[in-house]
């Protein structure tokens, strides 16, 4: 049970913050299928930073990881500029832009990873080794039956995610900025008529989307993978999109969806172990969260309502 909780939380929270990134973009009216690309690109920047600065820190220092999270956010935001410019400045089809941004991220980071490895480090490799992040256990809380799992072997980044998510929620629901941003997703013409700059709001939203996805991607690199390579593009971005839709584009509900996916996944692993299946079968269990997604979407998507102006190209001249 403890394992299910530990691994479930470690998977759910990065997924959640990526989904929150998606919510930011989509509530502003910009369809975002590019989460996959954002999270990979963000993690790439973070990994490059860690690799290039590895000589500056003591081997046991946790500091590089925290810095990498920040760099990943900045890198994710930087990469998101592509999607923002295509969709907002050039009014491209947002679905196509998202797909292109994903493909580009994979190809570009793969190429750059090899190049940086050979040029800067003089080795031929298509990955950056990161080590898995250290974990914290909080006694005596960890000794509580069942619930103790939430305080056992916790990745430090989980707290970072929770803090960032709280700020993201506050900004979206309590501030002027958030109010205008959400209005853009419903009726950008109303926002324009109120004297606000729709393009700037949407641009900002997409950049935030990139930053949050980058953070989530970096956390995956530090936990699930332990290194950075193109294997980070395994569809977690799309899973985050599913969680966002299942969560009805609202932050609290999306957290619920992510927890569900995370626990389904970790419970699947425990199941594999308990049944003593050969490891090749564990791939089958990996399908579980995705199958669950499909099933849930079939039943629940009817009641869900996407932002009304989602994907609509905002043209100020149109009346």
């Amino acid at each position: 049970m403890t394992d299910i909780i530990v691994n479930g939380m470690a998977f759910s929270l990065p997924l959640f913050i990526i989904a929150v990134g998606g919510i930011y973009s989509e509530r502003s009216g910009v369809t975002n299928l590019a989460l996959e690309g954002f999270l990979g690109a963000g993690a790439f920047f973070g990994a490059v930073f860690v690799t290039l600065t590895s000589g500056l820190f003591a081997a046991t220092s946790q500091l590089p990881m925290y810095l990498a999270l920040i760099v990943a956010m900045l890198g994710g935001a930087l990469y998101a500029v592509i999607h923002a410019v295509l969709c907002i400045k050039f009014k491209a089809n947002q679905v196509i832009s998202g797909v292109v941004v994903n493909i580009l991220a994979m190809a570009l980071t793969d190429f750059l990873t090899s190049q940086i490895n050979s040029v800067a480090l003089g080795q031929s490799s298509d990955k950056f080794v990161l080590t898995v992040s250290g974990r914290l256990t909080f006694e005596p809380l960890a000794s509580i039956p069942v619930l103790g799992g939430f305080f056992t072997n916790v990745y430090p980044f989980e707290f970072v995610i929770i803090a960032v998510a709280v700020v993201a929620w506050y900004a979206m629901y309590k501030t002027r900025f958030g109010m205008r941003l959400r209005a853009c997703g419903d009726n950008p013409y109303a926002v324009d008529a109120a004297g606000c700059n729709v393009a700037r709001l949407q641009f900002t939203a997409v950049l935030i989307s990139g930053a949050l996805s980058g953070l989530g991607g970096m956390c995956f690199a530090y936990s699930v993978f332990g290194n950075y390579s193109t294997s980070i593009y395994t569809g977690y971005g799309y899973l985050a999109i599913a969680a966002m839709i299942f969560g009805n584009w609202k932050i609290p509900q999306t957290l619920g969806a992510c927890l569900l996916f995370g626990f389904a996944r970790s419970a699947g692993y425990v199941l594999v172990q308990k049944l003593g299946m050969p490891s090749t079968y564990s791939d089958l269990i990996m399908i579980l969260p995705y199958a669950l997604t499909l099933l849930l979407l079939v039943f629940f998507s009817k009641n869900n309502r996407a932002p009304r102006a989602l994907g609509e190209i905002y043209d100020k001249g149109k009346r």
């Binding site: 002027r176 109010m179 205008r180 419903d186 009726n187 109303a190 926002v191 008529a193 004297g195």
Partner: protein
């Protein structure tokens, strides 16, 4: 000239291929209700969009309170205390009334003295006060998606008042309202004048101008053709100047000669896509030579009745009989061949294929029949021959005759094309749904003449319209629909406009 709060001098605005405003000069006094009258495309909205800063004039100047306007932007207009209620409301549907009103200038408070947050509660109070002051009767915490059109319009008005607008522009505010709602709105407008606001009313409805306006400017094809004191000018005079010729309000309606019932609708119920009953237990019959009109506020099930009769929506219970034959489950084509012509509400979505030529569109109900199609091969020369005949007969105007792509035609001519196609079927029963929506007076006259001509030829006509005037002018029998039910069915000459309006609001006898 200091007494003018708004002054426009020699304003000209051109769009590609058209002069929307041609050298217009006018002045508006503080505290008056100033009407701007003209047909569709006369340039009223463009002129006011310039005042509101949405367009910059190509020539000429605009003065507000004696000061020349240098920058044209809606934000600047708002700073000058000008507000505009657009024809299409700009509201965020999942926000409350208050949230919509404060959007863009949200009051702030600090949570725990540190974190800034939008202060919705204090804004709620302010909105409620404003609403009370001007008699708008809104609840600030309601969500927009739960409001009807009339309430949404009041939210737009509150938005302007919240921004302390002194000059308020209304673009066709009554187009979407019922007679009672129109009265309510006009009362609000009068109340605002009493409180010292200056009101500009864009409209093509003469009665409204007569009811509230002080002065009226008349535009025709981009030019200012007249300026009159409303109190001393007759509506007939205003109409003549607006159209540029004499207009007869009287339609040459022949006395009724009713024949046998052609269309029978018996206990009809229709459910929408969500499974809600939108038409419940409606029964009526339309006789040959009769215009049966269904009056009602938009969204009360009238369009669904037409769709069910035409075969575009499934019938959940009840029967539809055409000339003695049950067509409740027939296909659309079978109904057309049985003798049903249909002029749909949304001419662009359902009546026409916009990227096809006029000729192809005129043949949409005939193309598979001889001589237009022989052995599965289309004969376009036959299409064109027939089309030219129809274009001539129905006076359809277009750039390149029958080869014109329909998208490029004006709304009036698009509608004429649909009417031509359907009337040409020579079906004993014709359904007209909102046949004059969005058309100007000239085109409306033409369509009305066609409807009456078909009546004289003994056709059974089902007319569904949101324009009460249209119904009162044309109908022999009126059925008023409310909430999916026919509340009242009676010969037209036994009902007054006011009574019909009452029934439209659901008032029972």
């Amino acid at each position: 000239m200091d007494d003018y709060i708004v002054e426009m001098r020699h304003v000209t605005k051109r769009f590609p291929g058209i002069v929307a405003n041609d050298d217009i000069s006018l002045g508006i006094k503080k505290g008056e209700i100033f009407a701007l009258l003209g047909e569709n495309g006369a340039g009223k909205s463009t002129l006011m969009s310039i005042l509101f800063g949405m367009y910059e004039p190509d020539e000429g100047e605009v003065y507000i309170r004696g000061k020349k306007v240098e920058t044209f932007s809606p934000n600047h207009a708002t700073e000058l205390n000008i507000g505009m209620v657009h024809q299409h409301f700009k509201l965020v549907s999942n926000y409350t009334i208050t949230e919509n009103i404060i959007l863009g200038m949200e009051p702030r408070r600090r949570i725990a003295g540190i974190f800034p947050a939008v202060d919705v509660k204090s804004a709620d109070k302010k909105v409620a006060e404003l609403s009370k002051k001007f008699g708008l009767e809104v609840d600030p915490t309601q969500k927009i998606e739960d409001l009807n059109v009339s309430m949404q319009q009041r939210v737009e008005i509150l938005k302007m008042l919240y921004r302390e607008a002194e000059i308020l522009i209304f673009d066709e505010p009554t187009a979407v309202l019922t007679p009672q709602e129109i009265e309510f709105l006009l009362e609000i407008i009068r109340e605002m004048r009493r409180k010292g606001k200056t009101i500009i009313l864009i409209t093509h409805k003469l009665e409204e101008i007569k009811k509230v306006a002080d002065r009226c400017a008349i535009l025709c094809r981009g030019r200012l053709v007249g300026m009159c004191d409303v109190a001393t000018t007759s509506t007939k005079e205003m109409a003549a100047r607006m159209v540029g010729r004499e207009v007869s309000f009287e339609l040459g309606k022949e006395p009724a000669k009713f024949g046998a019932p052609v269309l029978n609708v018996d206990h009809l119920s229709v459910k929408n896509d969500d499974g809600f009953t939108v038409v419940s237990d409606v029964s009526f019959s339309v006789r040959a030579g009769e215009i049966f009109a269904i009056a009602g506020v938009a969204g009360n099930g009238q369009v669904e009745i037409a769709d069910a009769v035409a075969g575009l929506a499934p019938v959940s219970s009840g029967t539809v009989t055409l000339a003695g034959k049950d067509i409740t489950r027939s296909s659309v084509r079978a109904r057309a061949e049985q003798g049903l012509a249909y002029i749909p509400e949304d001419r662009q979505a359902r009546g026409l294929i916009l990227d096809f030529t006029l000729s192809e569109n005129l043949m949409l109900k005939r193309y598979y029949q001889e001589p237009y199609c022989v052995k599965n091969v289309l004969h376009r020369d036959e299409f064109d021959k027939k089309s030219r005949e129809l274009i001539e007969r129905f006076d359809i105007r277009s750039g390149q005759g029958e080869q014109t792509v329909v998208r490029s035609m004006s709304g009036g001519n698009q509608q004429k094309a649909i009417v031509a196609r359907e009337i040409e079927l020579d079906a004993p029963c014709i359904i007209f749904v909102q046949p004059t929506r969005g058309l100007d007076i000239g085109a409306i006259e033409h369509i009305h003449e066609q409807i009456l001509a078909e009546r004289s030829r003994g056709k059974a006509i089902l007319l569904i319209s949101l324009e009460l005037d249209e119904i009162m002018n044309l109908a022999d029998t009126i059925g008023v629909i409310y909430n999916g039910q026919l509340l009242k069915t009676a010969p037209a000459d036994t009902l007054t406009t006011n009574e019909v309006g009452q029934f439209m609001m659901g008032v029972k006898e």
